[in-house]
């Protein structure tokens, strides 16, 4: 993983760089000139009301959504969508995506494969890894997320939290430079959220560069280095996580966060 390289002198070069990214779905402008930088090993939480464009922004980071214009760099891979550039070919898109890991709200595990096959799928099919070696790595990753004993069951036998941990292992198996989490805990029963957040917390501690779209404000405050608050396709406020969440400067951020103070945020704020 990218952690070791990250501690060198190159760490001032951002791992993720996004400049002037724009995206519209038909007449609706979803991203209006977004620029963003994430340092190596940084953890950024994207927060904001639904429809603010945060998920679209996250999907632009691995080109699951292709922006109309702008520049995107993740690690050494760049994609330039400024005027005059044609759409990237399937091969280029695939190569770009292979270096980022993504975790989805609805897990999206492959139901026709066992847990371990899910984790092996990327390395074996995309990286043409040796299946035996891939199996070893996959077992290690399942152990890391605490599910080694579930290697041979199919996803329908797993709880939501277990599914999401397998999905994280599946993404990690590609040895990504960055991990993207799209509301990874939103579809989970409240009592299962913790086990997934624990894995994310561990990744943060290992120095993984991550971008999280989340509604878990307490978690964002605890794990993220910085928080980006979006509304209506623009970045309204960004800054150090604690500062943005505890003492937001913009009225819109304050209004948005006021919905959370009664729930999860307060207890953690008290501990912290």
């Amino acid at each position: 993983m990218s952690i070791k390289e990250g501690s060198g002198p190159v760490s001032d070069v951002p791992m993720i760089e996004l400049a002037h990214v724009k995206k519209a779905f038909g007449p609706v402008s979803v991203l209006k000139d977004i620029s963003l930088r994430v340092p190596r090993g940084g953890v950024v939480a994207l927060i904001g009301p639904s429809g603010s464009g945060k998920s679209t922004l996250l999907r632009c980071l691995n080109l699951l959504t292709i922006p109309e214009s702008g520049f995107i760099r993740v690690g050494e891979s760049t994609m330039d969508f400024t005027n005059g550039h044609k759409l990237p070919a399937d091969r280029q898109l695939a190569a770009f995506r292979a270096r980022t890991g993504m975790v989805f709200q609805n897990f999206n595990l492959f139901p026709h494969m066992s847990t371990i096959r899910n984790v092996m799928e990327g390395p074996v099919t995309v990286l043409k890894a040796n299946p035996d070696a891939a199996r070893e790595t996959a077992l290690g990753l399942l152990e890391k997320v605490g599910l080694k004993d579930k290697a041979d069951v199919t996803p329908d036998k797993l709880s939501g939290g277990q599914k999401q941990r397998v999905a994280i292992a599946r993404a990690l198996a590609m040895k990504p430079q960055v991990m993207l989490f799209d509301e990874a805990t939103s579809a989970l029963d409240p009592e299962l959220v913790g086990e997934v957040l624990a894995v994310v917390r561990q990744l943060a501690a290992e120095g993984m560069t991550m971008v999280l779209v989340t509604h878990e404000m307490a978690f964002a405050r605890e794990v993220a280095d910085s928080v980006v608050f979006m509304r209506d396709g623009v970045v309204v406020e960004e800054g150090p996580a604690r500062q943005v969440i505890d003492t937001p400067r913009q009225p819109a951020t304050r209004a948005f966060l006021s919905h959370f103070h009664s729930s999860g945020l307060q207890p953690v704020a008290a501990n912290g």
Partner: protein, 219 residues
Amino acid sequence: MHYDWSFGFLLQYSRLIGVGTAYTIGFTILTAASGFVIGCVVAITSLSKVRFVSTPLVMLVEVFRCTPVLVQLVWIYYALPVLIGVELSPAVAAFIALSFYGGAFYSEIIRGGIVSIDVGQWDAGRALGMRRFDLMKRIVMPQALKQMIPPLVNQAVLQLKNTSLLSVLAVPDLLYQGQLITSATYRPLETYTMIAVIYFLILFPMTRAASVLEARLAR
């Protein structure tokens, strides 16, 4: 009305009947396979939204869906050679007609199977860096195929029945052999009864298997 049923004479035609059965089953398997390939190509290109490829294909499919197979058989055998200047044997003409006719229906089944797969599956495969072909082969098709099997088997049953139309072009299928035997023996009652029974004996287990499979996949 009194009629002396006697099936015994059919024994001496067992070779003809065997050949006819082989033609019927062989044509079904062959045209089901080629029809499936045609169906896959049409379904995938029509989903890929490459207009200049998909539009003509979709039109071709509609032509085959909205005209009777018998008309297609006759047209391809008698009219197509005039257009392209190449003589077609009855078997080749029959193969073309039945493949495309089957393909027209298979393509809809396959398209339906593919679009039934949750977009999240596509996202997950793409996020791993899979290219289109691998995504289809590894993620989408294995899941879609499960949904498609029952309607595909039903279509294969229809396909087998449609091979009886080959007799019109003098392809020696089961029905054609029946006609031969009838004209030699003047006993249509026994002959055609036996022909019908053979069709039933092939198709009944097939439809049973299809419904068992359907029940099992639905679980």
